[in-house]
């Protein structure tokens, strides 16, 4: 489904091609992932569309300076920066809750309804939104975009041990928040 880490441009397509061809390959290979990352980091669809476009336009203007083999890291790195800027531009930034209380829990669908993928994504976003951003970023990169902890460390400019530690904390944090929701949903189902 997704590209293996740092396998960026298929040699048969990228080799010897024009910049426009190279960009087409990059868009085809990574646009979904970049867009999905922006979505999971909190951008609404329309903003994710725009930000993803900016990421690729930026890549287009810097194509000659991007080292071969690091295109994916460049694109995702840009996406992380755009997401950070977007968060900063929001008038009322989302504050992660220390207790795990989740805003919008009333809008969370029932367990039965979760078979619908859109609702599952809505719940996923509710949980991610409540997480501290540094944990959320690492979690999304590892669990959804299948970066290794080594790659995450490079992307975020942190030691690998720190990346691994954040990932452990992020997984614990995610599990706790989700289990709270799950219990609330069960309770709601029992009452209903």
């Amino acid at each position: 489904m997704r590209q293996p880490a740092l396998r960026l441009v298929e040699p048969e397509e990228g080799a010897g091609s024009t910049p426009a061809d190279a960009m087409r390959v990059l868009v085809r290979s990574h646009f979904d992932g970049v867009w999905r990352l922006l979505r999971r980091l909190g951008l609404p669809r329309a903003d994710a569309d725009d930000a993803a476009q900016q990421v690729f336009i930026l890549a287009c203007t810097r194509l000659s300076t991007i080292q071969s083999g690091s295109e994916r890291a460049f694109l995702y790195g840009c996406a992380l920066k755009f997401a950070a800027k977007w968060r900063a531009s929001q008038k009322k930034p989302v504050q992660p809750t220390a207790t795990g209380e989740l805003d919008g829990i009333d809008d969370v669908p029932s367990l039965e309804e979760l078979v619908d993928q859109n609702r599952a994504r809505a719940l996923l976003d509710v949980v991610l939104k409540s997480m501290p951003s540094e944990l959320r970023t690492v979690f999304v990169l590892f669990e959804l975009e299948e970066f290794s902890s080594h790659e995450i460390a490079g992307l975020l400019g942190i030691p690998r041990g720190t990346a691994a530690s954040r990932l452990r904390r992020a997984r614990d944090d995610f599990a706790k928040r989700l289990s709270r929701i799950e219990s609330q949903l069960r309770f709601r189902g029992t009452v209903a």
Binding site: D32, A88, R121, A164, L178
Partner: protein
């Protein structure tokens, strides 16, 4: 140090796995993908065409008169010709898509069709040339013209970004390439304007940031400076806005842009 197994694969039937799998399967719409593919292709083509034109100019000037220069120039001309054809095709396709989509900014905020046509034909446009900080476009007689601001502000002189190249270079800059490059600039600036109009000021600045690198001809430089100034002003970055306003006025901006710039600079 090995990574743990991913939760989406670890417990295929858990709620966590269900959510993660749903998240991983979300995709942008095909229309968005198509739009970005087109935008990226035309940006890459425009940048390439500009770079080739620039390098061809240097190459032909350096090798003028030498026997070997003939083949080099012909080679550059051939490359530029095909790039120009590609750029024109891309521009035409994008223009058609754009016309169909009907999502452009209000007419009053876009560069006029006349201005675009004039720039493409390298004919005089007093209104447009007042704001240009560029030397005239190379013409058939090809006499070098100095890049002096006083000369550029004068009306009735076409624009160009490069010092006038030798006659051999002119053959590799066909009129339709100029038109395609200008069309790409217009689209680029439109995106920045759209971000500004919807209140995404930081995004507008980021969007317009690579303008000078992508478009060495900088035919819409004053419009870009104006949009940056407005974005900075609304973001509360008064110092930067004033710097941009001064730059804008120095370029000879007129009308709404000049009025706004003076307002930013204050009494």
């Amino acid at each position: 140090m090995t990574d743990p197994e991913r939760l989406s694969k670890d417990s295929a039937h858990s709620l966590t796995a269900l959510l993660l799998q749903a998240g991983a399967q979300e995709k942008p719409s095909a229309a968005v993908l198509s739009r970005i593919t087109s935008a990226v292709a035309i940006t890459a083509t425009a940048a390439t065409a500009a770079a080739v034109v620039k390098s061809a100019g240097s190459a032909s000037a350096a090798t003028a008169g030498a026997a070997s220069s003939a083949s080099a120039t012909l080679g550059a001309a051939a490359v530029a010709k095909w790039i120009a054809i590609g750029a024109l095709g891309g521009a035409v396709a994008m223009s058609s898509l754009h016309a169909l989509s009907g999502d452009r900014a209000p007419r009053s905020q876009r560069p006029s069709t006349a201005a675009i046509a004039n720039a493409a034909r390298a004919k005089p446009d007093p209104q447009a040339t007042k704001v240009a900080l560029r030397a005239p476009e190379p013409v058939a007689s090809a006499q070098p013209i100095a890049l002096e601001r006083a000369n550029v502000v004068e009306a009735a002189k076409p624009r160009a970004v490069e010092p006038a190249p030798s006659e051999s270079t002119q053959s590799v800059v066909p009129e339709h390439t100029k038109s395609a490059l200008l069309a790409a600039e217009v689209r680029f600036v439109d995106q920045g304007r759209a971000a500004l109009q919807r209140g995404a000021f930081a995004e507008a600045i980021a969007q317009l940031e690579p303008y000078e690198r992508v478009f060495p001809r900088q035919q819409l430089l004053t419009e870009v400076l104006f949009l940056r100034m407005e974005s900075c002003r609304r973001l509360g970055n008064a110092e930067r806005a004033k710097t941009l306003a001064a730059h804008l006025l120095a370029l000879g901006a007129v009308g709404r842009q000049a009025a706004q710039a003076r307002e930013v600079l204050g009494p």
